[in-house]
Symmetry: C2
Subunit: 244 residues, 2 copies
């Protein structure tokens, strides 16, 4: 088949492939930065490291720059190459995932802001809920790493593992909230601090949601199935059917 394509056209195709690969690379580069932002924000929060928190807030601008850059790249590729089918799906999928990555960056920024706020209010007792935060953060961080790896290999199967992990994060979140409420009941003076920890946990939950969205965009990109509103069970069924 390939040999039937005239030389000039083949050249265009190859050039387009390189452009698509560059697009994915840009997404991964942005993903690496967001990952660092998230991990730094969590460390700043659990260690009450205001210097690190400030760094996260400053670096947020770089995330925004990536967002605009990749988005413009997507628009240019569509307008110039007029892609169809899987190429178009890839570009649109990257476009959507960029939005999710940007929102994860926002959540990292929020966690960093919380850290500064807590420090100003003199909350030093971050030992409340600290181990829970670390635990949930580890999960969420792993999910983000995995979805980025999966994008690098355009591997839709890994997305399932990620969707499963998101369920665990939600459950842990609920148990953590319950635990934190008991702290507040026992000592009303802890309420303000505990509230901040709760907002931090909420941010992590949102990060998990965004990673799951990215996994769904990837499945759509690779397999062309819209799984956004499927439950995990239906999702598995759909993928199994396609694998046959």
């Amino acid at each position: 088949m390939v040999s039937e394509i005239p030389q000039a056209e083949k050249h265009i195709f190859q050039k387009f492939d390189v452009e698509l690969a560059n697009l994915v690379d840009k997404l991964l580069e942005m993903g690496g930065l967001v990952e660092k932002q998230l991990n730094d924000a969590i460390n700043a929060f659990t260690e009450m490291d205001t210097e690190l928190a400030s760094a996260v807030i400053v670096n947020e601008e770089q995330v925004d720059e990536f967002d605009v850059e990749i988005d413009q790249l997507c628009v240019r590729l569509i307008a110039m190459r007029q892609p169809t089918a899987s190429d178009l799906r890839l570009i649109l999928g990257v476009g959507k995932s960029v939005q999710d990555l940007e929102r994860i960056g926002d959540e990292a920024d929020k966690i960093a802001q919380l850290t500064l706020q807590m420090s100003e209010e003199g909350s030093v007792s971050t030992s409340i809920g600290r181990s829970k935060i670390r635990y949930i953060a580890k999960y969420v961080s792993e999910m983000l790493r995995q979805v980025l790896d999966a994008y690098g290999r355009l591997d839709a199967d890994l997305s399932l593992t990620i969707a499963r992990k998101d369920k665990i994060v939600e459950e842990e979140q609920e148990s953590a909230t319950r635990e934190l409420v008991t702290y507040m009941m026992e000592d009303p003076r802890s309420i303000s601090t505990v509230m901040h920890v709760m907002w931090g946990l909420r941010s992590l939950e949102r990060v998990g949601d965004h990673v799951e969205n990215m996994a769904e965009h990837l499945i759509y990109t690779v397999k062309g199935v819209d799984v956004r509103h499927s439950t995990l069970k239906e999702m598995k069924k759909k993928i199994r059917k396609l694998a046959r």
Copy 2:
């Protein structure tokens, strides 16, 4: 200029214009449903109306169906019509706004779920923070109405009013949180109820964020300026420059 276009080609253009108008109509139709979902969820929450809350949860499926349908329409339009410039921007802008509308639907669903949870736990004293919730909900709901109206007229100027309102919502949110913390401190038995009210308020804040995103997508669609990461002040400056 128009008369120079051959008859057949003109026909294609006209057909494409109709398709684009239909796309925006679909977005507005989805917007109307999401608006109703949001208002119903808020009423259910403040009145502890579990029946209405259940209806919101059931209707969430319709929102998801719109999401998938409009997204597929966008992909089809790009693949078949290979639009460039402003037409492409419109399609991509609608595609992004659909995502935001869908998330607003998710928040309505969350508020409805909260209502059922509170009812199960026997919290009837929703008078706590009720007036604040109503007040903020009114603002957020108005913002959503306005952004949908602006989409209907492809009017980017209204977007500015919306961005300004979102700032007010954030401020009200902060003052409400402060007030709610005092309730918890005064009566630790109220903690669980107050937490639910806080989650409800958080959901409304997210709705405001999504409406602001939609306004930004609209400005980008109409004016071709990326305002996503501009502050309100910079945004105004950019628009003023374009108006000259």
